[in-house]
């Protein structure tokens, strides 16, 4: 097992139980090959997820969260050049052929996307899509697969499961579609679920329902979960650990309670301060100046430097991801934390 990523502080949920590492991502880099050469999209991403653990991948749009997920799932664009190592249940999968990769992923990884309409087939019935997956991955017969599909829909809180199996995705509300995605994702008994902004398009009331469901599934099936989001408040509620990305880099990594309450990296702090708080009655917010630099236009050294009020000459060199207080941060001048 790959274990050179330093384990973070004690597990708050079950401190005495040694939990198996399900996913380990080490020094993952992804560049896209185009006419001008290689365009780096993600550089040096490392984190791991243990069984029963939810890890958040957080950051604003364009910072490389989805493409990191696609590299893990083995569905990165064809012109990708991937470096680093991805290990699933102790087996290095980053070097596998696409065919072997797909086989493994169908069984052991489940995916949930923000927009279920892009992942679910519009003109195949929901039942057909579910039974195809079950038959293909688990070798079930048709009748058995249908029963299992109905059980799964029932389990994710879809009423009248048998009727819904005969229906189509477009007939469902956003929340119900997301439940179907969850049913499909867990259908083959995976050890890892990758959920890319699964509740971003939903109303808060439905978001709360879907998060509760994912949380129940994680506990019940002891699932490792990679939860991609741009909302730090969701992270604090829902994930044990958080990995904050900025411009293709991991800039902070730690227990989510520490990252959300006492971040060391100025970008993580900025993300938290920019959100109107629930009750503080401020008359002004504290925005982060400027915008995220697009790929191909990252500054040398610290990529956050043009927007950082702590930047100095030292920041022209690229900082490493290092332990500062309770979390790891990629910063020359990390914020003081309480711990």
């Amino acid at each position: 097992m790959t274990a050179h990523i330093a384990p973070l502080a004690a597990d708050p949920v079950s401190p005495n139980i040694e939990r198996r590492t399900v996913l380990a991502v080490e020094n993952l880099g992804l560049s896209l090959r185009n006419a001008d050469g290689l365009l780096p999209i993600v550089t040096d991403v490392s984190f791991s997820i243990r069984e029963g653990e939810a890890v958040a991948l957080v950051g604003e749009s364009g910072c490389g969260k989805s493409i990191t997920a696609s590299a893990i799932m083995g569905i990165a664009p064809d012109n990708s050049v991937i470096t680093g190592t991805i290990t699933l249940n102790g087996k290095v999968i980053s070097g596998l052929s696409p065919k072997d990769r797909r086989k493994l992923c169908g069984r052991h990884m489940g995916f949930i996307f923000q927009e279920p309409m892009t992942a679910l087939h519009p003109t195949l019935s929901i039942g057909r899509q579910m039974t195809d997956t079950l038959r293909h991955n688990l070798g079930l017969g048709q009748a058995e697969a249908t029963n299992r599909a109905a059980e799964l829909l029932d389990r994710v809180g879809i009423p009248r499961a048998r009727d819904i199996l005969k229906g189509y995705v477009h007939e469902l509300s956003g929340g119900m579609r997301q439940r179907v995605m969850i049913a499909l994702a867990i259908s083959c008994g995976p050890s890892l679920i990758i959920a890319d902004e699964p509740t971003t398009a939903l109303d808060v009331t439905i978001q709360a329902q879907v998060l509760d469901l994912l949380d129940d599934m994680r506990r019940e099936m002891n699932l490792a979960m990679l939860f991609i989001t741009h909302d730090l408040e969701v992270v604090g509620d829902f994930c044990e650990k958080a990995v904050v990305m900025y411009a293709g880099d991991v800039v902070e990594r730690g227990l989510s309670a520490d990252v959300v309450q006492a971040p060391a990296h100025p970008y993580a702090r900025g993300l938290i301060d920019a959100v109107p708080a629930h009750d503080d009655g401020r008359t002004r917010l504290t925005p982060i100046l400027g915008t995220v630099p697009p790929v191909g236009q990252w500054p040398e050294g610290c990529r956050f430097a043009p927007r950082c009020n702590r930047a100095d000459d030292q920041c022209r060199a690229r900082p490493a991801l290092e332990r500062h207080g309770p979390t790891d941060a990629r910063c020359w001048h990390p914020l003081e934390t309480m711990a």
């Binding site: 509300s173 808060v204 329902q209 998060l211 509620d237 109107p276 009655g281």
Partner: protein
């Protein structure tokens, strides 16, 4: 209506065939204040905004703007009144003409309403750009050359071009990343302070509404079910729906998410009695047969729920 009231909406309803999008909505906004509408998608917020802007015709009810009944205006007078009520939408791409330079985008509304000489119009355009913290060089560029946050700044500048009394903003920051969202929200507040603009502000994001609004109306299935000053709505919500909405928001202490059952029913088939009863954790028999009336509960707060009758009687 007091002279300080800029917009007053009474009994406003809108049906699209069988869809009851907005039902009997009433509120008013004093000069320089911001009234917020919150609620799940499909609750009728955007339709209310479009009714106020007279982009759609109401099925019933009246809208009084600057003391004039908008329904009674001729189309010419209505066009003239538009100068005083401008809008900002979620997607500035949808509201900015892609083939118009920023200069033309900012000059056009002034031309339409006959404000100033060409030289003055250009000067105003330059001043507006500076007000939204965009460089002068942006004048000759086109919407697609800007980021989402910058496009929203341009849309705000355009909305200000006629020096309107009121701005209707429908989800103006919903498409923006949080760091940029904070920039735009600060900007809107600064401009409002400077110009004394009255605002109808719509968002599904409870945090954003709390930051921006003085008074808030909570909508459910086309109706306002609770209304009142910001601190009352957030500090002492009286309607079970408002309570559930606030408790569903992420980031609450201890991660205790309230579980509001089910989903908002279709506006084709509004439940009898209290429209919220199919999801309300407190629903009882009376809620099925009798529609709760809006009841004032002090401090400028009011809500429509039978439980408040019991509370008042006790």
């Amino acid at each position: 209506m007091s002279p300080e009231t800029v917009l007053s909406v009474t009994g406003l309803s809108k049906s699209f065939r069988a869809v009851k999008a907005v039902r009997d909505v009433s509120f008013s906004i004093p000069r320089g204040k911001t009234f917020g509408l919150v609620g799940e998608s499909g609750s009728g917020k955007s339709t209310t905004a479009r009714l106020v802007l007279r982009l759609v015709e109401p099925t019933a009810g009246s809208i009084s703007f600057r003391g004039k009944d908008l329904a009674g205006l001729s189309s010419g007078d209505l066009r003239a009144e538009r100068r005083h009520m401008q809008m900002i939408f979620q997607d500035p791409f949808g509201s900015l003409n892609p083939r118009m330079s920023v200069r033309d985008t900012l000059v056009e509304p002034q031309v339409v309403h006959g404000i100033g000489t060409p030289a003055e119009q250009l000067k105003t355009a330059e001043r507006l750009l500076a007000e939204v913290s965009m460089p002068r060089a942006a004048l000759d560029r086109y919407p697609h050359e800007f980021s989402g946050g910058q496009r929203q700044r341009i849309a705000i500048a355009r909305a200000l071009a006629t020096n309107p009394e009121m701005i209707v903003a429908d989800e103006p920051v919903s498409a923006l990343d949080v760091s940029v969202q904070a920039q735009v929200l600060n900007l809107m507040r600064d401009l409002q302070d400077r110009h004394g603009t009255t605002m109808l502000f719509i968002s599904h994001d409870l945090r954003v509404v709390q930051f921006m609004c003085d008074e808030i109306g909570v909508m459910y299935l086309g109706e306002i079910v609770e209304q009142g000053p910001r601190d009352r709505i957030y500090g002492a919500p009286a309607h079970p729906y408002t309570q559930a909405l606030l408790a569903s928001a992420p980031g609450k202490a201890g991660g205790q998410r309230a579980r509001l059952k089910g989903e908002i029913p279709s506006a084709h088939a509004v439940p009898s009695g209290c429209a919220f009863r199919t999801r309300c954790p407190h629903a009882f028999e009376r809620c099925t047969v009798e529609k709760p009336a809006m009841r004032a509960i002090g401090g400028g707060q009011k809500a429509a729920c039978h439980l408040l009758d019991a509370a008042a009687a006790a």
